[in-house]
């Protein structure tokens, strides 16, 4: 007798349909599982056998073969158990075939027949939707994650028996009241908490508007982390597509909080500088998303930048450039998106307190040596560098309320709208992505501005590498000013932000 049940496999962050087939017939008692299976999937055999028996079903001895198709796609993970069990039950004639065709089944089985939660429910359910399934049977704990989709029935089960009961007599199924979806808005941090740091706020607005790399240099306690955490609050709200992407990634990583629904706030990830390569970009024998992917559509904050090893920083370069990381394995390639806004922070010198002469004895040469620890290409990406907290907060007695996150976000949105229009159909979204022909097209400068640039390069000792990046930032600043042309003052501000390029630390300049 033959039976089958549908499920899916996670490839990277997306799911792909898998059909479990079971064939039972006469012969010496064997149980074979085939279909390009990973070792953890092969172990399902024991789990499924015990689960079925402990659910009160006697399995007649005979020749049982289970195949997970298609056979050229590698099956990995622990989500197939339930589908395998159902396919076998159909082959045994316990459940009629027609009762299972409308559903997809995902879940791990315990030896006693209970259904255990898995990761990536969101992606599995998405796949079921794509396959036009009426419903998806998922572990109870993962039910709320699946219920983010309102156009497919989600049935949360806690045991194999419960699943069987549902399939045989759906009318008897008592729907568990869904875990309340957290409706209240979480209290988000706001930029009004950052007092007297107008330069940093301005820099945050410019970086966010054009998605430029943003570096803050300052002593401990000067507000670098405080500022970084608030950057997601001035970025535009996630659109539907971005929201789905983030939710998928978090779901696959297993960190989607239960009952939370779609992710609505831009992610903020701050990996420790001892993080491994895999931890940062993703990987492992069964590739899982890394911090860069978890920060996709949000902010990746690298605190203590010089403490990150050069190799770790180097491995980030390509994903930053491409907006995705492709991890190749024998069984195929996985694509994890990594489009992030890069924010970094560091101390100005080894002791951390430059230029406070009461606490720091470092000379400019020491500062330069400390900065040279960061890989040049990465430093290059820091289009905007500012110093933070040079003055003690208490010393600024201004009564002027600083900008709030709402006000700053408005400015960012204004510039984003201009970029959206500009890049319609051109394949990029932000000024920071400009290069080559498009750079020339959108960042042309007037002759007097060209003179300013030339003078700045000569008198300040800027490198040629900085040239294009300055133009891109100037473009964003002009957008914020709602100016079609890049004016001299826009260029001047952009040049000011490339503080690290200057060769004034003991090298020659005129």
């Amino acid at each position: 007798m033959f039976g089958k049940a549908d499920t899916s496999v996670l490839m990277g962050i997306d799911g792909r349909k898998v059909t479990v087939e079971a064939d039972f017939g006469d012969g010496l008692p064997t149980f074979e599982m085939v279909g390009f299976l990973g070792s953890e999937v092969k172990e399902a055999k024991e789990r499924v056998r015990s689960a079925i028996r402990n659910s009160g079903i006697y399995m007649n001895p005979g020749r049982l073969t289970v195949n997970l198709s298609p056979a050229n796609v590698r099956k990995q993970g622990n989500s197939f158990d339930l589908a395998i069990a159902i396919a076998i039950l159909v082959a045994y004639g316990v459940i009629p075939e027609e009762k299972v065709t409308d559903y997809a089944f995902i879940g791990e089985l315990s030896l006693n027949g209970s259904v255990r939660p898995i990761e990536g429910t969101f992606s599995h359910v998405m796949t079921a939707r794509e396959e036009k399934k009426k419903g998806c049977i998922v572990p109870l704990e993962n039910e709320s994650e699946g219920k983010i989709f309102s156009d497919i029935e989600i049935i949360g089960v806690s045991s194999l028996s419960e699943t069987m009961n549902y399939l045989l007599s759906p009318e008897t199924y008592i729907s568990h009241s869904p875990l309340p979806i957290v409706k209240e808005e979480p209290i988000l941090p706001d930029f009004t908490d950052v007092k007297g740091q107008e330069l940093v706020k301005r820099a945050a607005v410019v970086s966010s508007a054009g998605m430029h790399g943003f570096l803050m240099v300052g002593p401990p306690g000067s507000g670098k982390t405080l500022t970084a955490k608030r950057i997601p609050t001035i970025l535009p709200p996630l659109d539907e597509k971005e929201s789905m992407e983030c939710t998928k990634i978090h779901s696959v990583a297993g960190i989607l909080p239960p009952g939370s629904g779609l992710i609505r706030i831009r992610p903020f990830r701050s990996p420790h500088h001892t993080i491994s390569m895999n931890g940062l970009v993703g990987g492992g024998s069964v590739p899982r998303p890394g911090e860069m992917s978890l920060a996709h559509n949000g902010v990746l904050f690298l605190d203590e930048l010089p403490e990150f090893s050069k190799t770790t920083l180097e491995v980030m370069r390509q994903p930053l450039e491409d907006g995705k990381v492709v991890i190749s394995r024998v069984q195929g390639s996985y694509v994890f998106p990594t489009h992030v806004m890069l924010v970094a922070a560091m101390n100005p010198c080894r002791c951390g307190y430059y230029p406070d002469r009461s606490r720091c004895r470092c000379s400019e040469a020491d500062v330069k040596k400390y900065l040279s620890r960061i890989s040049k290409p990465l430093l290059d990406r820091m289009d905007i560098t500012v110093e933070v907290g040079r003055v003690r907060i208490e010393d600024i007695e201004s009564n002027k309320p600083g900008l709030s996150s709402d006000e700053m976000r408005e400015m960012v949105l204004k510039a984003r709208r201009i970029q959206k229009e500009r890049f319609e159909g051109r394949g990029i979204r932000f000024n920071s992505e400009l290069s080559g022909k498009m750079l020339n097209e959108f960042c042309s400068v007037s002759p007097s501005s060209r003179m300013l640039l030339k003078e700045a390069f000569e008198s300040l000792g800027l490198s040629a590498r900085a040239h294009d990046r300055i133009l891109k930032v100037a473009r964003t600043i002009a957008d914020l000013d709602e100016s079609k042309d890049i004016k001299e003052k826009h260029l001047a501000e952009a040049i000011s932000y490339r503080a690290l390029d200057r060769k004034f630390f003991g090298e020659i300049y005129r």
Binding site: V367, V386, E387, R390, L460, A492, E493, S496, I508
Partner: protein, 368 residues
Amino acid sequence: MNDKDDAIRDGYLFLSLLTSFSAKKLWDMIHVSENVTAIPTYPMSYFKSRGINFTEIEENQYQSVVSEEKVRFTKEELVRTDTHYICYENPLYPQNLKDDSTPPVGLFYKGSLPDPNKKKVAIVGSRRCSSYGRDIALSFSREFALNGVEVISGMALGIDGYAGEGALIGEKNDFAVLAGGVDRPYPMDNLGLYMELQKKGGILSERPLKHVPYAREFPLRNRIISGIADVLLVVEAAKKSGTQITVEYGIAQNKDIFAIPGRIDDPISEGTNTLIKNGALMATSPEDILERLGILVTEKLRKEEITFQAPGEKTVYKALSAEILSVDELLEKTGLPVSDMLDILLRLEMRGLVSRDGLFGYKKSPRK
């Protein structure tokens, strides 16, 4: 140069190649010889019989210089690398150097030699200087060079390097003395300066080409820096700093010592402030030194009228001071918006009216 002079020169050159010999020993050898020309022909026993002893290293070097014909080889190399050698007896040898008790027997150089008709200032100071020291070294050095005064330094990091840089503006008024061979720029951080010095002045050394300096040769080099100069200017020095050694040489050579005063709570100025307390001359402007050298400064070179283009520029310039201010402090003081402030600061900086400390600290530049 006639044959007789050539022979004298070769004699000194021979001695210059004996790098493991102290200058004193070389002079002892010269004093016991009839003339310098003959020295390369003498065996070591000649000197030993006249009371000069040699270590094994010295003996080995002497033998190898003779047997490997190093004098001839060096002369060929000099031609090939466009480097020159001048011996003690040559009239163009810097006369001031003869103030030292053991002057170099000869000097290798690229570019030019200091002009005997011009006044010279040696500028020395800490390698790890502050932005204050940097600005002073740059602006004083510039002013000296513009007034036809030559600047001598060691091309080291910090004050030396800035002094060398400032003087590039002049006409062959910039010189550096190295501890190793003149074909070995050190430190590499100042490679740009090294290249410029060959055109805008010169690079000198007591040591032959390719010589790698060891620690002891750096203070020895310093005696040449102070020796060539008429006065010595110490810009910034901590209490225990290598600069003190140069000052001691300067005192022994009877040079006037000037020092720039600094903040009393800043250790980077402890050395200079102490020098002033102990009798060094205090300099608070380049004119102090120029006057001492007998150079009249025309009124025109004094305060230049500063013109401002945009109204904001004047406001910002007035808000600046000798103290280092942050952008946020300037915003507080002037009420200008951030984007305007950055624009103005950049322009003032490019005009040389504003100098930076660290990444985003600003102060008024010392007067141009």
